[in-house]
């Protein structure tokens, strides 16, 4: 079963080369290579995201953004990484040392585990579970424990309040994020990301289930956005009330972990939305236009994936810089009075659509792949 983890290397033909030259040791070597590639991608994507976020934020605020380190400030996040690596990790008195140091790892490990299941391109997926969607929702819920432990072990009331808010927020919004994904599971009848993408060749899920899918998509974006503690939902770290929320007491690399996990969570939410709703790495295909389809396939699948994900990340930044921060009661009202009831009705509507054969692929069978 461990062999499944090496799929990305088979894509490039490297796997065969390893098998022939290394013999029995090719499996561990492949596993390590995949792990290293994933970790590197994790760090590099975070750095690119930080740069892009700062630039786009600046443009929304009629500024230029980072422009001193390298051309257009392109090396800014590299410089930031070096700075954060060199910073001192401050030891705080009267904290529970073990939990204090363990907390950032929960965040990072949770987002890394999720990161592994994302299909970046054709056969570029480290782990393809047949329960991909469930796996992602399950594993990403581990991160909140890191937040709670960080808030408690900091021995600081601001951190504590921030962690409690974050916990309440995360537990609530995870519910509607899960329901939104389940709506699409009802539509596609599978939980595996690869099968889901294969079924979306001619008709993305967001069009396939029309009304229901679009509502689910919007709800998933909202609740995913809230889960990452960003944008209008960043009240766990509302600086005017709580200084920096649960990571107030952290410095240096430990703070860097929280920072990294926050940005990667944004990416993960966007990429799951891409995979589940927008066809993942699948190029735009129109049934019958074979020449057009062929041309679309010349664009590599990972470019499609990162393009679609990038659009969603831009959307998230757009939302972030448009709306004022919610109060905690407004936040919980939004979830429990609006998103969750709408979601429950929506999933019923989707069941009816599927059973009555009213999805686009049912109505126009040529769209089915």
């Amino acid at each position: 079963m461990l062999l499944e983890f090496s799929q990305p290397l088979e894509y490039t033909g490297l796997a065969n080369w390893f098998d022939t030259t290394l013999g029995s040791w090719s499996l561990p070597v492949k596993l390590i290579l995949v792990a290293v590639a994933l970790l590197a991608a994790y760090a590099i994507i975070a750095m690119i995201l930080i740069y892009v976020e700062r630039k786009i934020t600046a443009f929304f605020q009629a500024r230029i953004g980072p422009n001193r380190v390298g051309k257009y400030g392109i090396l800014q996040s590299v410089a930031d990484v070096i700075k954060i690596l060199l910073k001192e990790i401050i030891h705080i008195n009267n904290v529970d040392k073990f939990l204090f140091f363990a907390a950032p790892f929960f965040m990072v490990v949770a987002s890394m585990l999720t990161f592994g299941a994302i299909p970046f391109g054709k056969a570029l997926q480290a782990v393809d579970f047949n329960i991909g969607v469930l796996y992602v929702t399950a594993v990403s819920s581990l991160g909140i424990i890191g937040v709670l432990l960080a808030g408690w072990s900091s021995n600081n009331k601001y951190s504590m309040i921030g962690a409690m808010r974050s916990g309440a927020q995360f537990v609530s919004y995870e519910l509607s994020a899960g329901f939104a994904l389940m709506t699409i599971v009802v539509l596609t009848g599978t939980m595996s990301f690869s099968e889901m993408i294969a079924k979306q060749e001619f008709c993305w899920n967001i069009f396939n289930g029309h009304i229901s899918s679009i509502i689910a998509f919007v709800i998933y974006l909202i609740s995913g956005h809230a889960e990452t503690n960003r944008g209008p939902f960043d009240l766990p770290e509302a600086e005017s009330e709580l200084t920096a929320g649960y990571h107030t007491e952290y410095s240096g690399l430990q703070f860097g972990f929280f920072y990294l996990a926050e940005y990667l969570n944004m990416f993960i939410i966007a990429s799951i939305a891409t995979t589940v709703f927008l066809g993942g790495w699948m190029p735009i295909q129109i049934h019958g236009f074979d020449g057009f389809n062929q041309v679309m396939w010349y664009i590599p699948s990972y470019a499609w994936f990162f393009g679609k994900t990038g659009v969603l990340i831009f959307l998230s930044l757009w939302v972030r810089w448009s709306f004022p921060r919610l109060r905690i009661d407004q936040l919980l009202n939004l979830e429990w009075k609006y998103l969750l009831p709408i979601n429950l009705v929506n999933i019923l509507v989707m069941v009816i659509l599927v059973i009555a054969g009213l999805t686009l692929t049912d109505l126009f069978p040529i769209l089915a792949s």
């Binding site: 009629a62 500024r63 230029i64 422009n67 939302v319 810089w321 448009s322 609006y338």
Partner: protein, 173 residues
Amino acid sequence: MNSILKYFNGLFTGIKSLLIGMSVTWKELWTKKVTQQYPENRATLVISDRFRCELTIPHDENNEHACTACGICQMNCPNGTINVLSAMIETEDGKKKKILDTYTWDLGMCTFCNLCVITCPSDAIKFNNQYENAVFTRSKMIQKLNHKGSKLREKKKEQPLKFPEGGLKDQVL
């Protein structure tokens, strides 16, 4: 029934207002960026005329200024920024006359309130917009404003000695 109507009404007006907000920020995304990249754009940087940077006593080509050393600016300065030192000289016709000796102004103490300029009866001082005022020691902030060897501009003999028509009032408004 009414509450259900209210619920959906609130939902849709909420969505509408959010979309309006997003359209506003979308427009803002494409506006011209206002950031001034200061050291590079020194040559082209435009500072508004009204911006108050440095107090000056304008001197004309004959090295003459209009300051009569009356000390009104010094009295009006809230922070004690201005220090007018006067000297007594004897003119040719034997009259004693007070003239300006040194006019010092402390940039570090000034709040740029403009009261000195407003109250000056002879329009001898004004703020210019030379904005690069950073120096390395505090003592350099105390500036002597009258040039070396400058003297009071002679008034035209025909004019009687009085305030100009509504002069002070004009300045205040």
